[in-house]
């Protein structure tokens, strides 16, 4: 199984740049996910690997074989790349039976008929649909179609498997089961896999490594743990999981512990960070709702920071309670296991649980409006 190297990939449509200088390497046998909102360039990146789109600039190499190199004028058309791909719509050819769908790539490769039979049977067996080979795609359920599409992508032993949001057309319950199944299958086959999704949960659950993309840039590559715990940029923190952003100014620091005066309330909070930030710099404190805790004003909880706030709304969301609390002029979201709090409460968090980013984070206007509270 080869590794995939992408260097300085860029793509422009007209004057519109949808992909900017993207570079990454996917290791042999790795499950690699491109994660981002729609229009971030993740599908364009995948299509460039597949050969369905030509990059404006950059090079892609798979197992040492150059697929694209704009500098050298190399472009290998998709049909000669020997990749397997599953599309969002599954793209099963509607006028062919399942067996015929799987036979087509084998026919193109001039595999003898006898051999084809066993290969098709094995591939369908792998996805648990061997008995349906005579059916037409429209006679199958969505989940079955998705598995057939996967079998078709695997039947000719491609070098790399490309998955373009393959689970997005399944309903929520089925999607979770399909996710676990897909993970098992990939580990069993050990095939290098590139997965595109906008669903952060899916990305976290499936991937060996995740690349988070935004506006055509790759902003962070890391393991699911790294991405969630140490997001390299506020955009990553905002996209993967939920996050509160509080802007402020550094008032001083003691080693790696910084004191930050928050703009919204004037409180000073302590935040740990290994970044080098000078006093008086504008910063943003990012903290996830589940890392915050609300306690009654009298209650004692160990934690470095304690801020006086007021509950605006609280709602029960199943396993936990979700609070919107007013911190000065801003709403802050908290996920807590304590229910039934109202009125004045204290917001508590540990300096190590918050993240510090240089510069102020500019939220989109609509979001900012929703978070601003009139006092």
């Amino acid at each position: 199984m080869p590794e995939v190297t992408v260097r300085n990939l860029a793509k422009t449509f007209g004057g519109n740049s949808v992909l900017r200088d993207v570079t990454f390497t996917i290791r042999d046998g790795e499950f690699f996910t491109l994660l981002g909102a729609s229009g971030c360039g993740k599908s364009t990146t995948l299509n460039c690997i597949a050969g369905l789109e030509q990059p404006t600039e950059g090079a892609i190499t798979v197992g040492g074989r150059p697929f694209v190199d704009t500098a050298a004028g190399v472009f290998l058309p998709p049909e000669e790349r020997n990749l397997g791909m599953v599309f969002q719509s599954y793209a099963l050819w509607p006028h062919m039976t399942i067996a015929k769908n799987l036979a087509l790539p084998l026919n193109i490769r001039k595999v003898p008929k006898e051999k084809q039979k066993t290969l098709i049977h094995d591939a369908l067996d792998k996805v648990g649909l061997a008995e349906l080979s005579g059916r037409y795609p429209h006679q199958l359920s969505g989940g079955q179609q998705q598995r057939v599409a996967l079998a078709r992508a695997l039947v000719y032993s491609p070098t790399v498997l490309l998955l373009d949001e393959p689970l997005s057309n399944l309903d929520a319950k089925l999607r979770e089961q399909a996710r676990a199944w897909l993970k098992r299958l990939q580990e069993e086959l050990g095939i290098t896999t590139v997965y595109v999704t906008h669903d952060q949960e899916e990305a976290l659950a499936l991937s060996d490594r995740i690349a988070v993309m935004e506006g055509g840039n790759m902003i962070q590559i890391g393991t699911p743990h790294e991405i969630y715990e140490r997001p390299a940029a506020p955009e990553v923190a905002a996209f993967v999981g939920r996050c509160n952003f509080l802007t402020g100014k550094v008032v001083g620091h003691d080693g790696m512990r910084y004191g930050v005066r928050l703009d919204c309330s004037g409180d000073v909070v302590q935040v740990d960070s290994d970044r080098n930030i000078a006093a008086d710099d504008s910063v943003t404190v990012a903290i996830r709702p589940e890392r915050l805790e609300v306690v009654p004003p009298s209650g004692t909880v160990s934690g470095g920071n304690r801020l006086h706030t007021e509950v605006m709304t609280s709602s029960y969301v199943g396993s936990r309670y979700e609070y919107d609390v007013r911190l000065g002029g801003q709403a802050v979201q908290v996920l807590s296991s304590h229910g039934g709090l109202t009125g004045r409460v204290d917001l508590v968090f540990d300096p190590g649980q918050a993240l510090l980013y240089a510069d102020k984070v500019e939220l989109p206007e609509e979001q900012r409006d929703l978070l601003t509270v009139n006092s």
Binding site: G51, R65, P78, E79, R152
Partner: protein, 589 residues
């Protein structure tokens, strides 16, 4: 590079020794995909430029193109306006086209609104009835109108008997415009009706909630939203009436009213010694006019987005209730359908079964099949019937296949010049039929390797000219059907190892078949009705129904014309019915 590729091959061999990834040969870096794509582009370019370039060239040569030793001249253009009286012709044309446009919009817009947006008894029947021009050519409609409403027409004579005078004169520019408007109104109707059907009904509900009544909603919400289809269809109707030959020829000839197309007809065909330079100059000017109309249309369509009220969500349009006005609407609509189309066609069919057709003597007295016997007794007429069928049969298959190819290249490939292919396939829309005829006539005179003389005067010349004229319609019918096939199906085939050509043959061909069949039916009917490019290309051997009817008409043999026209309508109807049955059967399988 070679050291880098070494390890992969090895691992690939270990992994799947049984089969290799596909390889396609690309001599000089050009694969068969590109060969096909460039071939389609080149073919369309030659086809479209063949009639245009010689026309432009002829307009500045002082001798016919088929004669040697011509020289450059611009006198064609000056003579056109001095001796040939082209100024008056242009004026007539503008008058005729403007009046036609106004009248057809006046018929179509209210009808579209009433049928689509209000509760109208029998609305679906009207929508169906508006498809009549698909079966009947404007030439046949012209015959029908003259037989019924002409100076000696059945209705005119009856009115003369009863009232002592006939308040209309068909052989005039308003008369021509009225007939043409009746024939073209369905085009405008279809554009407006589609726009109305697609527009969001919640816009109207919003107005209703605000307290607006049905008439206010019509005037302030619905009609303003119709501006793009109105402008679009107005330009379309205008350009069609500029190039139409049938009605102006039939009505204008007896009284000497000339428009663009009849001017070319008279000067090119009926004069003893045609002045080809003047003819070329006139054609060039007409070409410039029609091409700029298309450019205008394209420009207007570009910024039509602000009128778009189509959203992803499908809403079931709620229909307004017009009260007593709806009965008036019904009367108006059926008056148009019956008087405009049904009566003339019925009269024409009746005329084909009788010898004398006038209210002065009961036509039933002379009921006969003699008209048909005369047609079938003459080898020439039977030949023209066969020719029409061959042209439509061979032509529709070829044109539909070319259209599928062109759509595949233009819309379903990564070919850089795909846009150019699309434009080339659509340009013939703006070329007047008669100019396509003249253009090919000259093109055959210029064509190298004796190709021209091989084609000139044969049925192949007619097939080429008609086929070119039907190509835009075929493209227009194939493109949306093919675009409905998800693009990921192609991508899946490409990634699985098929190149573009193989993707078409292994995967898309079966899926494209319905689109091909649809285009086939459409182009068959179009090519069966077509005749104007043939007037310059016809000879004794390659006459088709249209040209035969025209020459019979000038000989005053209305009975035979009526018989041939009836046959043409019957063939069309039977063909469409059979095709509908066949396609329905396919769907069930």
């Amino acid at each position: 590079m070679s050291t880098l590729t070494q390890p992969t091959r090895k691992s690939a061999d270990d992994q799947a020794a049984t089969f290799k990834p596909p390889r396609y040969r690309r001599p000089f870096g050009v694969g068969r995909d590109q060969v096909v794509q460039y071939a389609v582009l080149a073919f369309l370019a030659v086809l479209v430029l063949a009639p245009i370039v010689p026309t432009l060239y002829q307009s500045v040569r002082n001798r016919p193109l088929y004669e040697a030793g011509g020289a450059f001249t611009l006198s064609g253009y000056t003579r056109l306006f001095t001796d040939a009286g082209f100024g008056e012709v242009a004026l007539n044309t503008v008058l005729f086209a403007s009046l036609t446009t106004l009248l057809s919009l006046a018929i179509a817009i209210p009808m579209a609104i009433v049928v689509v947006r209000t509760k109208l008894p029998g609305g679906r029947l009207v929508a169906l009835a508006m498809q009549w021009p698909f079966f009947i050519s404007s030439l046949i409609l012209g015959f029908g109108w003259i037989i019924m409403y002409g100076p000696a027409g059945f209705v005119s004579v009856k009115v003369q008997q009863v009232f002592g005078a006939v308040p209309w004169n068909l052989y005039s520019i308003p008369g021509m415009a009225l007939t043409e408007a009746v024939a073209l109104a369905p085009i405008a109707y279809v554009f407006c009706a589609n726009a109305l059907r697609q527009s969001d009904a919640s816009l109207e509900s919003a107005a209703q909630v605000c307290g607006a009544g049905p008439l206010r909603i019509l005037g302030q919400v619905i009609v303003p939203l119709l501006r793009p289809p109105i402008v679009y269809s107005a330009i379309l109707v205008f350009s069609v009436s500029i190039e139409t030959l049938s009605v102006p020829l039939l009505y204008g000839q007896p009284v000497g009213i000339d428009v663009f197309s009849t001017f070319l007809y008279h000067n090119g065909l009926q004069s003893v010694d045609p002045d080809f330079t003047v003819l070329g100059a006139a054609s060039t000017i007409i070409l410039v006019v029609t091409l700029s109309l298309v450019a205008l249309q394209a420009k207007l369509l570009k910024d039509a987005a602000r009128f778009v009220s189509v959203r992803g969500k499908v809403t079931r349009p709620r229909k307004l209730d017009l009260g007593w006005l709806k009965w008036l609407s019904i009367v108006c609509i059926w008056f148009y359908v019956i008087v405009g189309a049904l009566v003339p066609i019925a009269g024409l069919v009746f005329r084909s079964f009788t010898l004398v057709f006038t209210p002065l003597q009961s036509p039933f007295k002379t009921v006969t099949t003699q008209n048909y016997e005369m047609v079938f007794d003459s080898d020439n007429y039977v030949q023209s019937l066969w020719n029409s069928l061959i042209v439509a049969g061979v032509g529709s298959v070829t044109v539909s296949a070319i259209a599928v190819l062109a759509v595949m290249v233009a819309r379903r490939s990564t070919f850089r010049l795909g846009r150019a292919v699309e434009y080339l396939a659509l340009i013939p829309q703006s070329l007047p039929g008669i100019i396509i005829g003249i253009g090919f006539f000259w093109a055959f005179a210029l064509a190298p390797f004796g190709v021209g003389s091989m084609l000139q005067g044969t049925i192949w010349a007619v097939i080429i000219a008609f086929g070119m004229r039907a190509l835009p319609s075929a493209f227009g019918s194939v493109a949306p059907a093919i675009m409905q096939i998800g693009g990921e199906l192609d991508n899946a085939a490409r990634v699985s190892g098929a190149d573009w050509v193989m993707t078409f043959f292994r995967v898309l061909r079966a899926l494209v078949t319905p689109a091909f069949a649809g285009a086939l039916v459409l182009t068959f009917v179009i090519m069966l009705k077509e005749y104007s490019p043939a007037v310059f290309l016809s000879s004794a051997d390659n006459n088709i129904l249209g040209t035969t009817m025209l020459s019979l008409w000038t000989q005053g043999r209305a009975g035979s014309v009526a018989a041939l026209a009836t046959l043409q309508i019957a063939i069309t109807a039977v063909f469409v019915a059979l095709a509908g049955l066949l396609m329905k059967g396919k769907h069930h399988a």
